[in-house]
């Protein structure tokens, strides 16, 4: 399948945007200007970007505690995200959500989520809604290997498959449920094998290869839009940072991290684009500069934005 040049460049843009955003968050968190729990996506960018490149603005995603990448890939604005991390009134959630709860329902982002696996039935519900309203919308649900052991994985995917709902389940298997390696938290190597239990396709892809993700999810999205039901896609990937900022990562070796860094999804994609003649080194540098500039502006916007009034605590509980 030939992918148009514009599409490839746009995907590269988004991956770099995520990386630059996350690197800036590392600095701002270390400087104490961002508080709370921050879970970074560095190393997994190919999954969010490859998956979301199949969606339109009116399609849905549910995200996770490690959500910045999904939100940017789906079209979230970095300045409003950064403002949210700074707890400012101009943030996506007016400072009420923080990193783990950023949402923009207007562009189908049904929220990052602090509860592991919670998006699985929620995405089924968004897909049910699309089906009942008779639209061609689909939902993509991102979740991790850890979430594949929760109640919601079974109940949610069972429901979605029983009702043939237009939802694509994208498992980001980064090999660790916080500190517990996959080999110790489940008795299988491929989470995609579990698809058999629901009578749906299960696909394993290299989660650090954005084109592989794009194509696998594209097929699943097309299947969902045809009314043939969900697909479970397992993307094998790795997070370069700890579970959260400040995690000393005693559960893995430096060698393992270094090995995965060699498979960095952005370097790989850049190399591939250059090899394909779609991108020149100079253009890649230009994109990098552009994204750095955007993220600097996002930080400036966040810094200069007003704090919420303390009494706003009492608003937005009921509609």
């Amino acid at each position: 399948m030939a992918i148009e040049k514009e599409k490839l460049i746009d995907m590269y843009h988004r991956m770099v945007r995520i990386r630059r955003f996350e690197e800036k968050v590392v600095d701002e968190f270390a400087a104490g200007r961002i508080v709370g729990f921050v879970h970074l996506y560095i190393g997994e960018e190919a999954v969010a970007v490859g998956a979301c490149a199949n969606l339109g603005d009116d399609d849905y995603i549910t995200s996770t505690h490690r959500g910045h990448g999904h939100l940017i890939a789906k079209g979230g604005k970095t300045e409003r995200m950064m403002a949210e991390l700074f707890g400012k009134k101009t943030g996506y959630c007016k400072g009420k959500g923080g990193s783990m709860h950023i949402a923009d329902v207007d562009i189908g982002i049904l929220g990052a989520n602090g509860i592991v696996g919670a998006g699985i039935p929620i995405a089924a519900g968004a897909a049910l809604s699309a089906k009942l309203r008779g639209t061609a919308q689909v939902a993509i649900c991102f979740f991790g290997d850890g979430a594949s052991n929760t109640t919601r994985f079974h109940e949610g995917i069972n429901l979605a498959s029983a009702w043939k709902l237009p939802v694509v389940y994208v498992c980001e298997n980064n090999m660790y449920a916080i500190s517990v390696p996959q080999s110790k938290h489940q008795n299988i190597a491929d989470i995609a094998d579990r698809a058999t239990a629901y009578g749906i396709p299960g696909v394993v892809v290299d989660g650090n290869d954005v084109i592989a993700v794009y194509e696998a999810v594209g097929e699943a999205v097309a299947r969902a839009r045809r009314g043939e039901g969900p697909t479970l896609i397992e993307c094998k990937t790795y997070r370069h940072r700890g579970h959260f900022e400040g995690d000393p990562t005693p559960y893995r070796t430096k060698e393992e991290v270094d090995e995965w860094k060699k498979k960095d999804p952005i370097s790989r994609f850049k190399g591939k684009l250059i090899e394909m003649g779609v991108l020149a080194e100079k253009e890649a540098d230009e994109i990098d500069r552009e994204m750095k500039g955007e993220i600097d502006k996002a930080v400036k916007f966040a810094e200069e934005s007003p704090l919420p009034e303390p009494e706003e605590t009492l608003e937005d509980v009921y509609a």
Binding site: K96, P121, I122, A126, L132, R133, D316, Y318
Partner: protein
């Protein structure tokens, strides 16, 4: 006026709201052909079909979770959790999703969901099918709590709940359905606003606040106490969130005495919250200590003799009233 049963009132409310608004749909266990475990949905499957009256797997987490996703994207789901005792299963979906999303998202999402569920003892259903858990949900900001006692209230409140843009949990006392309790309900359409108590009986000596089945036991006790010259005012809050504090406080100002009667375990009950509110806001109007008539702090027992002991009754209320007049 015509009389219909408690279950018919629920069916009518759902029927009217589904006819009025195509985004309203029902999903739950045995809601389709079966028509709800106690027949609350009789006829709706035939009328609206399997898309809008959806039988689900036995998956309470998926039922409430999918309702959240559907509501956030423009639908008005009315999920059913057969017995409130099963709400432990989808508790995260209620505690961390349904009730938090609007707030966490800075007020951007609307989650118009009504969770219908059965409460109450009295049919020998034992510890896992008989609880009254309304106080658990009063404690979670972000969800309204509705607990009707009559067919008239059941219908009018359910219609308002479905039209409300906030999440609502709607408790149906199973004994009111299986008795079956009948009551006057007009043919013409009406709604009852959430947050407005109803004075079920006017009186001047003691205020009794009661909910669900206990409203009927309080009214029966009030009739007996009247014979002894004690005049009871019976107030049914009808919704615990929002709570019509003013009607309760106004009544206490008139009577100077308050007894709260609910079927919940006593500790941490809605009765405890109402007692605290009156103590905090109308202490000077009280001429006697506030009394609570509740179930004991035990699971609901099975044997009829034990279950009868467990459930608050007229005699318990008469005793409590007698102690303070």
């Amino acid at each position: 006026m015509r009389e219909i049963t408690f279950a018919q009132a629920i069916t009518e409310a759902l029927d009217e709201e589904m006819a009025r608004d195509p985004s309203v749909f029902i999903m739950g266990e045995d809601v389709g052909v079966y028509g709800g475990i106690l027949g609350q949905l009789a006829g709706l499957f035939d009328k609206y079909g399997p898309d809008r009256v959806r039988d689900t797997p036995i998956s309470e987490t998926a039922i409430v979770g999918a309702a959240v996703g559907a509501a956030a994207t423009g639908m008005r789901p009315v999920p059913e959790i057969m017995f409130c005792d099963f709400l432990g299963v989808p508790m995260d979906e209620i505690l961390n999703q349904l009730t938090k999303m609007r707030y966490m998202f800075g007020g951007k999402a609307k989650l118009p969901i009504v969770i219908r569920t059965l409460i109450g003892a009295g049919i020998g259903a034992a510890a896992q099918h008989s609880q009254c858990l309304e106080a658990l949900f009063m404690h979670i900001p972000g969800i309204k709590v509705v607990i009707p006692s009559t067919p008239y209230d059941a219908k009018g409140l359910l219609k308002s709940a479905i039209r409300d843009d906030s999440p609502v949990i709607y408790f149906e006392h199973k004994l009111l359905i299986v008795m079956p309790l009948k009551g006057e309900v007009p043919e013409e359409e009406y709604t009852i606003p959430l947050g407005k108590a109803d004075i079920k009986r006017e009186g001047k000596d003691v205020t009794v606040v009661a909910t669900a089945l206990m409203v009927h036991r309080a009214l029966a006790a009030a009739a007996k106490l009247q014979e002894k010259g004690v005049s009871i005012e019976v107030i049914d809050p009808r919704t615990l969130v929002p709570l019509d504090k003013q009607t309760i406080i106004d009544s206490v100002k008139k009577t100077g005495r308050l007894v709260i009667m609910t079927e919940e375990c006593k500790t941490g009950s809605s009765a405890a919250e109402i007692a605290a509110i009156v103590a905090e806001e109308a202490f000077d109007s009280l001429d006697a200590p506030i009394k609570r008539v509740n179930a004991p702090d035990t699971p609901v027992p099975f044997s009829p003799v034990l279950e009868k002991f467990y459930m608050p009754d007229e005699e318990n209320l008469i005793k409590a009233v007698t102690e303070i007049v």
